[in-house]
Every structure is written in C-alpha cells, then in structure tokens.
C-alpha cells in the first residue's frame, strides 16, 4: 500500500551548517567508521512514511505493498533504493561520503571499557545473542527483530556509565582466491 508522504519541517543544526545532523524522526545522521550516514527508516518500528528536508539533503521513505522505498536527494543528485519491509536486509543508510546506500548489520558493537555491564545492555535491548571478544575489547550484541541499530546505540548510550556502542556496516563479500 502506497502511503502519503509525511513531510517534516526542517530544523536543527543540519539545516544551516551542512553538518547533516537532523533530529526529527528518531534516526538521523550518525557517524559510522568515520563516515557520516543518514539512517533511513526500516520496516519495523518506523512510521509507514517519513521525510526530512534540510539545505543539504532531502530524505523520503515510504512503504509500498511489499517494499520500503527510499529517496535521498543529496548535493543536487537523487538516489533511490528499496528494501524489504523487515528482516536484516531492511536496515539501510545513505553514506554521504560515498554517496551510496549501504546496509547495516542487525547487531551493534559495544566497547568493553569502564566496567560495562553487558547483562544490563542485553536486557535493555532484549538482545538475542552477545558475543564477547575480551582480547579485542568489544562485544557484538545481536538485536531482536524490530529494533533498529541506531535506536539500540541510543539506548546503550543512555544506560549507566554511558557505554560506547556503534552500528556496523555490512562488509564487501569475501571471495576465496
């Protein structure tokens, strides 16, 4: 079902500074591995349609019967993509550095520092699995369906001690050589 676009008013620092941050619909602009990405709505937990405009970009996301469509206008060019309505492939961002859509993994990386309480994090996120890499100083926390990694990162930041967490971008496919 095609839904009407809900246009939100432009506001926040991103409007004038070009720093891209926008606060409106809960996801916004984040930094992932040194790249600024616009986090796009996914099926679960997102409104059927959402949009945001600023002086540097314009984003529209809306559902059809079977897909979620994303239209990003950035620096005068328009980019389009669609994703499944739900599941791991529904998680998508627009990478403003590379001007490409990129896929997120349905998990986050949590730093093991300052006595971080992984149990509390797992509980707060209703995590399906936590994989700890002591020697590397982080843990992967697998997220349940419906919890967007951007939201999960926010929830972790709001816990006691403000643990550090980051979204994970899907990597290029591995080939045997």
């Amino acid at each position: 079902m095609a839904a009407a676009l809900l246009l939100l008013s432009a506001q926040g620092a991103g409007e004038d500074t070009g720093s891209l941050s926008y606060p409106a619909d809960g996801l916004g602009v984040r930094s992932v591995e040194g790249r600024q990405v616009i986090v796009l709505a996914s099926g679960n937990g997102s409104p059927q349609s959402a949009a945001h405009s600023s002086r540097t970009f314009d984003v529209q996301s809306f559902e059809t019967a079977s897909r979620r469509k994303h239209v990003v206008t950035f620096q005068g060019r328009t980019y389009r993509a669609s994703t499944p309505l739900e599941g791991p492939w529904s998680l998508v961002v627009f990478d403003t550095n590379r001007r490409k859509f990129a896929s997120l993994l349905p998990s986050i990386r949590v730093e093991l520092e300052g006595g971080v309480d992984l149990n509390a994090i797992a509980k707060a996120l209703d995590a399906t699995e936590v994989t700890v890499f002591d020697s590397l100083g982080f843990a992967y926390v697998d997220l349940p369906d419906g919890l967007h990694p951007a939201d999960a990162v926010d929830r972790v930041h709001n816990l006691n001690g403000q643990p550090r967490a980051a979204m994970r971008l899907r990597r290029p496919r591995v080939q045997w050589r």
Partner: protein, 861 residues
C-alpha cells in the same frame, strides 16, 4: 719570456696528450732565450655519431643516447650546441636532457639523452632532426653533422569508460551469483543452494531461473526440477542487489546410500553444459555424497589409503615450486630451473616447521586426508557450521561439496606430510595444521555469512580462545588467509584493525602471530579499456579493503618461468611473492592435495591433467591445476613455519623483515609503464627501484620472491631486538602553500602535487610502512593514479590509473592506501603526493590528504 695564460697552458697540456711529440720543449717555451711563436693548435672535428638504429618505436618508450664525438679529443674546453627540429614536437613527443654538451680536456665524446614519449595519439610517424649547432672552443664541425630519427607511431587508443554507477544505460546480460550451498535442518532436512540473479542497469527482460538435481554429474539423465522462477530486472539498486535472492531446497530425507547427488541452477530457457570443472555463464553447480546409511556425508571419513613412513613422496619430483628443475608438472611445458622457493638446503637439513602451528582459514579442511592427517591436531580445527549442519562435528571442518575444497588444497601446499609414500609434500611437512571455516554454516533467515565480517572470522584469526566449545585460534602462530574482497574506496573494518593489532602484539607469547594474505587474482580480471590497463592490471591489490593494513603480509604470485603469474594482482601493498603458477595446462600450476576420492574435488575437472587415470593419482587425492594467489600465500606461510621452527624466538616483524631482506629479485628487466598524456609524461608503474635504505621494490613483486634458504641463513645471524619497537605516527597533513582543494588537470600527465612534511619522528627512525589517506571529489576515480615520493626520493604508485574496481565510481573518500616501498628509509622530510588524471571527460580535485608512518629504529640491516 712570453707569459702564457693559464688557458693556453691547459691547451698545451691537452695538446701534449693528443699529439705527443709535436709539443716540443721549445714550443712550450722551454728555452727562454729563443722564443718561437706557437703554431695554432689544430681544431678538433666534431661529428654526430649515427645510432645503430634511427627508427625508434614510440610504443617502447625509448630513451636514446645520442653521441657527439671529437677527433682528436679536446685539448681545451669545447662546447657543442645541438639543434632539434623535425615534425615531432619537443616537450610533447619527446624531451632532451640538454641542448649543449660541454667537453672537458681530454674528452673524446659526450652525449645527450632523447626521451621519446609513448602516447596513444594517432599522429603517424614523426621525425626528430638533430644537427650540430654553435661550437665554442677550438673546434669545427665535421661530417656527419646531423641525424634524422624516425619515431614510429605506436598504438592509438582512447580510454573507454563505462557509465557512472548511477548512470542509465549499461547493456550487459544478467549474472547468477552463487551465495551458499549448505545442508540445513530447518524446517526440514534439505540441501539448499542459494543463488542471486543480478541484472546490470539497463536490462529489461525477465529471465527464467531453473533449479534441478540429478545423480548424473553431467545432468544427461535422471534430471529432476526443484523449482522454476521468473526473475525480473529492477532499476532499484537494492532490489537489483537483493530482491531476486532464491533458494532451491532439495529434501534429503530419502536419499540412496553411497550415492552422489548434484544440484544446478541456471538462468535462461536452455540448460547449459554441466559437469565438474565445466565453466558456463549463469550456472550454479555443486554436489554432495551420501554415506552408507543414506545420510549426507558431512564428516571426514578416512579412505583407507596406505601411507607409510619413509615411503617417499611420488609427486615431489613434479612440484616445481619446491625444486624447479624445468619439469612440466603435467602441463604442456616446464618453466625455468631455479624458479622456486629456494629450499634445497632446508629440505636436505630436514627443516620442516615442527613445533609451529598453522591455521588455514578457508572453506574447510579434510582432516583425515592421507597427506594431511598426520599433521592435523585432534580437536584443533573448528567447524563453524556444525550447529546448523545435521550430523556435522564441531572439530571437523569437512566441506561436503563434491567440487573441490579450496581449504584442503591450500593446506597441502603448506603442510602436506613428507616421506609417507603418497602424493607430494608441503613446504613445512611437520607443521601442526588446524583448519577453520568461518564462512560455513548458513541459515536462510540470516545474512549471507560471506557478506559480512562475522564473528566467526574474528574467532578464526586469533580472537578465539578455545573456551566453551569455541575455536582455539589464540594459540596459532601463522594464519593463512587465502581470501579477500574488493570494493572502491573502502577501508578495513575497525574490528579487523583491532584484531590484527592484538594478534601481532599478544599472540605467540607477545612475539606476534603472522597473518599471511593472498593479494588477489584480479590482474587480468577485466576487458581492458586501454593498452595501459594490460600493463597495470585491472584490480589492484590496494582495493581489497583489508589489505591497507601494515600488520599483514600481502603475497602475490609468480610462475614457473620466474615472472608474475598472469592473474596475480599488483600493488604497493605487496610484501613478497610466492609460487602460484599458471593454469596447469599450458604452463605449470601448483600440485597439492585435493578432496580425497576419484569422485570428489578438483581432480575430476577436465583441466586437471593429474586425474585419476594417472598412475600417480589413482585415488584422486591430488590436483595439478591448483593456482591463484591462494596458493602463493600458503607457500609463504609454509616458509614462515620452517623459519619459526628453526628460530622460534623471531618476532612477527623479524620474520617478515627477513623475508623481505632475503627475497630474490625476479624479472629484473621489467620496464616502467609510462606514457605522455597531453604531452606530459606520466609513470603509472615504476621499474624495480632501490629505495634510500637499499631495499629494492616493485609493485608486481614487493621485495621479491621468497627464498627459504636465504631466509634461514639470514635468520641465523639476525640479532634479536635489532628492529626496535614498532610505533605508529600521528597523521601528517599538507601545510603552507599546499592548501586543498587541489585541482587535478584533466587528461594530463602533469597531474597535481601536494607536499606533506613529516617532522618530529626520531632521526634514526626506519619506515616500516606508509599509509596515505586520500579524499578526492571527482566524477570518475577510474581516471586517477596516485603516487607517493618520499624524502629519500623513492617513488611509488599506490593506486594506478584505470583500476577497474573504481570504474564509474565517484571520487575517493578517506581511502587508505598502503605502501611498503619505503621500508627502512627515514621518514622525516617532505613527502610529495602526486595525483594524475589520464582520461578525458571527468574532472575533480583532491580535498583531503593525510599520511601516517609506521616506524621503528632498525639497528641491523
């Protein structure tokens, strides 16, 4: 007495040298009472020597030395001017080192260099007319006084570029991408083939996707259709990429015992020719066997081979990479004797890698293979798919596919047992071998395990500590990584960076594990758009996002002729090359272990000459057509195992230092790749160059071919700790006048340059690696070559132009490019970054540059 000026005395001296007795004591004023006027010295005659050939092939980038001769030799200063004319344009078609030649006293000849620029313009043959010009000194022009050089025009070519990746038209057919072949039990026991049809932009016609199974490997009979789908192209990139994912499920509840089953999926209405090793476009093909109970065989079962200690290695004589005698290795011809790992002494001395643990991180490992079993450690390997694969065992990474197990063949190159009466031998035949298969295991609901950097890769590469049924990779000494990926302007994941830092500092009791990685096979992996690309390669090794990290040993491949394997990717990030061979048909490939059995593995492929009909491979346990940098990496990993077996105290940096310092220079005459664009010459790939620390480097070979005997000899005298501690500098950025953005002239070899000053690092610092991070706003990064010149005047191309991974890609975004070419040099001083755009039509500028130096204080060479 006549007082002669100094110049005249010199003339006299010169004259004496030239004509001897004519210069008498009297003539030189020896008798003060009888002054005699000096006769004027005879003029020397100046001529232009005619070169052996006056026709120069522009395509060969010739540099001609043109000689001017004096007769007799100069007895005073002589200067000869040269005039250049003709139809060729100076500074555009050629350049000259000087317009004049100055002759010192006694000189009989001098020369200038004419540097003819190769270009790809269609201009016909041109001429350079050189003639003697003004002369100063006591000289006169003789004959010949001119010479005409003909520049034979080279190949004309324009750089063809595809549309931008968000362009509209691209007329290429669909492709079928195989994603997984696995046994699952959800919701029922089934073998699942997961495929992804893809339609490049512009495709509009739907295609039929057909999945079938058969007990006939050729699908000539007993063919059953599993499902048929109509696949529709989409102009949506995500829909295109993921929307057509399809799984074909073959229920395995009622399979016949001891049978072979094959599955195929193809695009189109007509089935393509199908069979082991038969290549066909848009075909997925694989197979599996059942055991005596009719279950899918997912565990390694020993085949009852007869192996016996002291039984020799029947295939050793054919393994050119261990001792190249010119043997053909079952191909049409042999190679160059001596083109091997240089391990004759090591073999004779019984250096075998005992006590060292090697992990093959790959598609699997046949732990019961007759030539691997002796070296595998019980319980040491790990099957990441065991929980999802009914009947599988946790510590048995058996690959149930019948069409070759990449990991088992990789393993044999490093670790096949010696003197057991079967097959050949590995480079380190007593190394302890473990296998991890991080991309195994599959759930249709999950992401494709090979798409991400899942936890299983980290657990396989040193972060697995063996607790709670997890793999133990933290006890591994050497990791072989015969895998990789390609992506434009992509850097390694943060997790991978941390993994390598941890592994090289904490594992091996703090001496650091060694990570040996295959550089890639993409050198010829494109339809060349321009002659230049054939020389530079299609996919550069630096476009593997993980290979820009200095903790890896990136390994390219050489063949039995002692030159680069035709497919081996070039790159500034290479460390060394190892043997990899060619196709095994026209020229030797690698002989190694294969999945055991005549109806499994690569041995049944038609291009494999060492098939089961051959008396040396009746059981089908070996293959003679294995290749790729996948085989160069384990050869080098085996060399490192032998090195560490003999000298276990070596740190990871000491081991890799020894590999570099003892490497054998191959293909010494390889020419630089250079051409003029807009009349300005541009070097897109250097010949072998010696850096300021006396290390020779080439982007095809790194420091050269690994030489085990030389490495062992060097290790014997290596002073522990002499390389100091590895340090990582801050980022250095351009300053002063080198303000960014820096406009890059279009289609012009002159390019644009920026200087980065590195200061404050120890005066005794030695570079271990340099990483440039570059950001370019550009409409097509395919056009761009990036070079780096050190304060020690070493130049290195860190991204060649026409890198096919960048075709149509807009710019470079904080892209990190690794170079090993500056190893050992002092980093302080001015570094020059040069960016050239050699193709017309797309433009842009450099907007970000940073340089990081990994360095230490080397007290021993």
């Amino acid at each position: 007495m006549e007082v002669r000026p100094v110049a005249d005395l010199r003339e006299c001296a010169g004259f004496i040298l030239a004509v001897g007795a004519l210069c008498s004591l009297v003539a030189c004023g020896g008798d003060p009472e009888s002054p005699t006027p000096l006769p004027p010295p005879p003029k020397v005659t100046v001529t232009l020597a005619t070169p052996e050939s006056t026709t120069l092939q522009e395509s060969e980038n010739p540099r001609l030395r043109l000689t001017v001769e004096l007769d007799p030799s100069a007895y005073g200063a002589v200067t000869v001017g040269l005039n250049f004319g003709g139809s060729a344009e100076r500074d555009s078609d050629y350049d000259v080192s000087s317009d004049t030649i100055e002759f010192a006293v006694g000189a009989a000849s001098g020369s200038v260099e004419i540097d003819v620029y190769r270009d790809f313009d269609e201009e016909g043959d041109e001429t350079i007319e050189v003639s003697l010009g003004s002369l100063t000194g006591n000289a006169e022009s003789g004959e010949p006084s001119s010479v005409t050089l003909t520049l034979a025009d080279g190949e004309a070519a324009v750089i063809r570029k595809g549309p931008e990746d968000d362009g509209e038209e691209q007329d290429i057919g669909p492709t079928l991408l195989p994603l997984a072949f696995a046994l699952v039990d959800d919701p029922e026991y089934a073998v699942v083939a997961l495929v992804l049809p893809q339609f490049p932009g512009g495709s509009t016609e739907s295609q039929m996707l057909v999945g079938q199974w058969s007990t006939d490997s050729g699908f000539a009979s007993d063919v059953h259709t599993i499902a048929t789908y109509e696949i529709t192209p989409s102009d949506d990139p995500f829909e295109q990429a993921f929307g057509n994912l399809r799984a074909f499920r073959l229920p395995v509840g009622e399979l016949a015992p001891s049978e072979h089953y094959f599955v195929r999926a193809y695009l189109g209405s007509e089935p393509p020719a199908t069979g082991p090793g038969v290549e066909a476009p848009n075909l997925f093909y694989d197979g599996f066997a059942t055991d005596a109970e009719g279950r899918v065989a997912v565990r390694c079962k020993p085949g009852g081979r007869d192996t016996s200690a002291g039984g020799g290695d029947p295939l050793f004589a054919h393994q050119w990479h261990l001792d190249n005698t010119g043997q053909s290795a079952f191909a049409d011809r042999g190679g160059a004797p001596g083109a091997d790992l240089g391990m004759t002494d090591a073999i004779a001395a019984g250096r075998n890698g005992a006590g060292v643990k090697l992990a093959v991180v790959d598609t699997g490992l046949e732990i019961c293979h007759p030539d691997l079993a002796a070296n595998t450690r019980a319980g040491g390997s790990f099957n990441f798919g065991f929980a999802r694969t009914p009947g599988a065992a946790r510590h048995d990474p058996f690959n149930f596919s019948l069409l070759g197990d990449h990991g088992s063949s990789v393993a044999g190159i490093a670790a096949a047992a010696a003197s057991n009466g079967t097959g050949g031998r590995g480079v380190a035949p007593e190394v302890t071998l473990v296998g991890f298969n991080p991309a195994s295991g599959f759930s249709e609901e999950d992401e494709d395990p090979e798409l991400a950097l899942p936890a299983s890769f980290l657990k396989s590469l040193g972060a697995g500590e063996g607790a709670d049924g997890e793999p133990d990779s933290a006890s591994v000494d050497i990791f072989n990584m015969s895998f990789g990926s390609e992506a434009p302007s992509e850097n390694a994941a943060e997790e991978f960076v941390r993994l390598l830092k941890m592994g090289t500092t904490r594992l091996r009791g703090g001496r650091g594990a060694l990570y040996v990685k295959a550089a890639g096979n993409g050198f010829a992996d494109c339809e060349p758009t321009h002659p230049f690309q054939k020389e530079l390669g299609c996919v550069n090794s630096n476009t593997d996002p993980d290979q820009n990290l200095p903790w890896l040993i990136n390994v390219g491949g050489f063949n039995a002729d002692d030159v680069k394997s035709s497919y081996s990717a070039a790159g500034a990030n290479l460390w060394v090359v190892g043997p990899a061979g060619e196709d095994g048909v026209e020229a030797p490939a690698m002989i190694t272990t294969d999945q055991a059995g005549t109806e499994a593995g690569y041995s049944q492929f038609p291009q494999n000459r060492l098939n089961s009909a051959h008396s040396l491979n009746r059981n089908g346990d070996y293959v003679s057509a294995f290749g790729g940098t996948s085989s160069a990496a384990p050869a080098v990993a085996g060399v490192i195992a032998v090195l560490l077996g003999a000298y276990p105290e070596l740190t990871w940096r000491e081991a890799r230092h020894i590999l570099a310092a003892s490497a054998r220079k191959i293909d010494p005459g390889i020419a630089e790749v250079r051409a003029a664009f807009n009349g300005n010459p541009y070097v897109a790939q250097h010949a072998w160059r010696t850096n300021a620390a006396d290390y020779e480097f080439h982007n095809w070979y790194g420091f050269g071919a690994v030489d085990l005997d030389a490495a062992l000899a060097m290790a014997a005298v290596h002073v522990a700790g002499s390389l100091g501690e590895l340090a990582e500098s801050d980022w250095f950025a351009p300053g002063g006048d080198a303000a960014l953005p820096l406009s890059i002239p279009d289609a012009d070899g002159a390019g644009a340059s920026a200087v980065i000053e590195v200061t404050g690092l120890p005066e005794t610092a030695s570079i271990e690696a340099a990483v440039l991070e570059i950001t370019v706003e550009h409409t097509n990064a395919f056009d761009l070559g990036v070079s780096l010149r050190s304060p020690g005047e070493m130049e290195n191309v860190i991204n060649p132009p026409l890198n096919s991974v960048l075709e149509g890609y807009r710019g470079m975004q904080n892209w990190r490019l690794l170079s090993n070419a500056f190893y050992g040099e002092n980093p302080n001083g001015n570094w020059t970054v040069h960016v050239a755009d050699i193709a017309p039509g797309d433009t842009g500028s450099v907007t970000g540059l940073r340089l990081k130096i990994y360095h230490a204080e080397h007290s021993q060479d």
